[in-house]
Subunit: 151 residues, 3 copies
């Protein structure tokens, strides 16, 4: 099964890609590396989750937010290269988690991103990763995910 | 008009590049990707802006700080490759904003970087981007900007 | 002297690489760039340093933590490519420092990483770098270090 088929089987609907509201773009291809802008956890264009993880946002919700951010990343990738099947390898994920000062489970949050990538891309979805707890994120979202993929 | 001419027209004077005070360097070229170290918002070698955005530093000043950081980045790029005209594409920007816990306008701050890149490089200046709010930055500056460009 | 010999001379013993406890991997090679996952400062598998730098953790200890994180990174690199001698260049380091809000010496902390890379790789060890202060890190460690190396 390929990545597009897996998305369908998992019931993942890739959203419309909203145009970045600034002088940047969602993705840049350089050689065979596709750099994806930090994606926020909008669901159907709305910010479903808001606040800091370990305070207003639970671990479970943060995990879902990481998953939602990653689905948005897949949508931008598809828009750029036409099909997720053209992804040769997910290379790198950086997961930024807006964290209460005493919240230390950033890896569990970003597993919401990593698990999705494995579900969609199988072995090709295995990536290098950093997960860090930041002070605040745009629009008070709990999670921002950026990716590099090889096409 | 090329990038060097645009800089001149915009009245942007690239500063002297100060040597990193540690075991690292300002830029590393690997293949045709030039990785630029995180740049701070010094203006004429001084830290003009200090503090956290949303607390001691206003949005407008933070924007100027992001612009100043990016001008410093351009100076290091020029030093490495001789001319900004050799930049084929700005690939990726990460903007770290030292943020008060309730400051969520990191994208507006980093527009100070993105807008400058667009002014200087035109279409080639459009980049993938992440903007995050961090707890603290070196020397208490409000903004640090790192870049990857294709040459 | 090559990198493996320098490690020996410096008395650096590369630890066993622990398998990431999630759907990601320690390293991904794409072209000739090896992306290394964010490494934590475990020493002999234990979290020797815990807390925020500038509060529970001193600058000196944080420096040692950055060094320990980097030794762990070297271990994962060696596991992936067989020998540190195959590293052509250390390209990029990002150092995340869990920081008290008024701690601004992130560069001094991450010198613990940069100095080690210079000791082990000599000129090839000179890298582009960003050092930022984050709100919290996994397992309450004070430092996380990620690397890109060219092989």
């Amino acid at each position: 099964m390929n990545a597009e088929q897996r998305c369908e089987q998992l019931g993942i609907k890739l959203p419309e890609v909203s145009k970045p509201v600034a002088s940047y773009v969602a993705t840049v291809l350089s050689g065979n590396l596709l750099f994806v802008s930090g994606q926020l956890c909008t669901v159907a264009g709305e910010f479903k989750y808001k606040g800091k993880v370990g305070k207003e946002v639970s671990l479970d919700d943060a995990c879902q937010a990481a998953r939602a951010s990653t689905i948005n990343a897949l949508a931008t990738i598809k828009q750029e290269i036409g099909s997720l099947n053209k992804v040769k390898r997910v290379v790198k994920v950086v997961g930024f988690v807006a964290s209460a000062p005493d919240f230390y489970d950033q890896p569990k949050v970003i597993n919401g991103a990593s698990d999705l990538l494995l579900e969609v891309f199988g072995e090709k979805g295995k990536h290098a990763r950093s997960a860090v707890g930041v002070a605040a994120l745009p629009f008070n979202v709990p999670v921002e995910v950026e990716l590099i993929v090889e096409v």
